[in-house]
């Protein structure tokens, strides 16, 4: 088994028409069904949606001092909107979950394998 990161990619300012209440309800329902399916299949490890990048803070070491700066690490139009960590037999199984996720959230999903501890 391998752990995979399924990251949900959002593009700022794109398709950001506020959802109607009904659309939001349907969206939450689709995501809920998907997550329930991941859990009952034993694939679910962790996951969730993130607040917008302007809520981010970056901490970095500079001259032995930790500096914090307001805002995301990289100023870019594309950002991580949320992610799932799943456990799957192989890439085909992970891609099957990615297909379901992209269908549920209507955003592209990047699939990336975690290193095994022994590969570190």
């Amino acid at each position: 088994m391998t752990y995979y990161l399924l990251s949900v990619h959002s593009v700022e300012g794109e398709a950001r028409d506020p959802m109607t209440e009904e659309e939001m309800r349907q969206f939450m329902e689709r995501v809920g069904v998907l997550e329930q399916e991941m859990k009952s299949a034993g694939a679910w490890v962790f996951g969730g949606a993130l607040h917008d990048p302007d809520t981010a803070t970056v901490a970095r070491v500079s001259d032995n001092e930790v500096l914090t700066t307001d805002g995301p690490f990289a100023e870019s139009k594309e950002h991580l909107g949320g992610f799932y960590i799943i456990e799957a037999e192989d890439l085909d199984a992970a891609l099957a979950w990615a297909s379901k996720t992209t269908a549920a959230v209507s955003k592209p999903i990047e699939v990336r394998p975690f290193r095994h501890v022994s590969e570190a």
Binding site: T2, Y4, E89, D90, L91, D92, A94, L95, V111, R112, P113, R115, E119
Partner: protein, 410 residues
Amino acid sequence: MGDVAAARKLDEAEVGRIFREESGRSVAALIRVFGDIDVAEDAVQEAFAVALRKWPGEGLPPNPGGWITTTARNRAIDRLRRESRGRELLSEVAVLSPGNDDPGAPEKEGPVQDDRLRLIFTCCHPALSMEAQVALTLRLLGGLSTKEVARSFLVAEPTMAQRLARAKRKIKAARIPYRIPEQHELPERLRPVLAVVYLVYNAGLTSPAEPGLCPEAIRLARILATLMPEEPEVAGLLALLLLTESRRPSRTRPDGSLVLLGEQDRRRWDGALIKEGQAIVRRCLRRNQPGAYQIQAAINAVHADAATVEQTDWSQIVALYDQLLALAPTPVVALNRAIAIGEVRGASAALALVDELDLDNYHPFHATRADLLRRLGRNGEAAAAYERAAALAPTDAEQDFLKQGGRGSR
């Protein structure tokens, strides 16, 4: 072949040829056993070195393929035992495949058991780029060296080595599976496999420096056809390649320039390849599950039937293109259909169809227009179209051909 071959002296080139012939099967079997492409590849490479030392003096072993697999497997085990990570891998192998560790034994019954089929679906997994798919297939399944693969695609050897290493790293890290797709996945997964083989063939056809890629592609297509006898498009691809190959020697002049189908010396077409290709096409027709490769093969089979270009059954070809266009509605197919219609209903009907197509950057589009305009006596427009075609043509041979107005001798 045993005794006769063993009595004969083998030289290095022959050992290399036999190795290339057999290595795909060995690499595939060892990947199954060790679950690791690099281990399998290195082991088969070591077995090759042993064969180069032994075979010329001792003669060919009775079952060269089995000898390679067994020798490579033993080398791999010896090597892994010396490394701590290797011992870990070996213990996993023992756990995962009890009693399944004798790749030297004859393969189990049935085509589905062949490891090469698993291997080609791994090499051509849709999570890999087309470039990586082609390189991996030629290297692992075709047994070409990295240097040979690099040369085939006009890439520097270190670049190709990097491309292969990256692809193998991704297979391992992302766990691209080593298995035959389920029946319901097959149409989706077979497409890149067939596309890779077709691309290898066309690379050989269009780059005169690498004619070896054509037989290589046919060898791969034959392997696929043996492994998947129930897949009509696999048979279709093999037939298409065989029929195209039958005309390859008459396709170019000694100076490398192209000869149009209608101007080729048909006595030079390879009758054995045509016979084999046409027999496959007939079986496809009886099965009646048409697909794009089968129809293209059928079109080529009709051409091969005509002793002279005048005897070509163009209405049959138009009917096949109608079918192909319905399945694969691309402008390139529409262009070829228009050419066939030109032979049945005349140049002006064809030109009307061609002028509707959006293919301005495709040189055969302009070459076709040029030919049709010339036949209609519109020589000024024809010259301009030839010029445009020549400017877009990818090879010198094609450029020269088009600059001379397609020789205008149809």
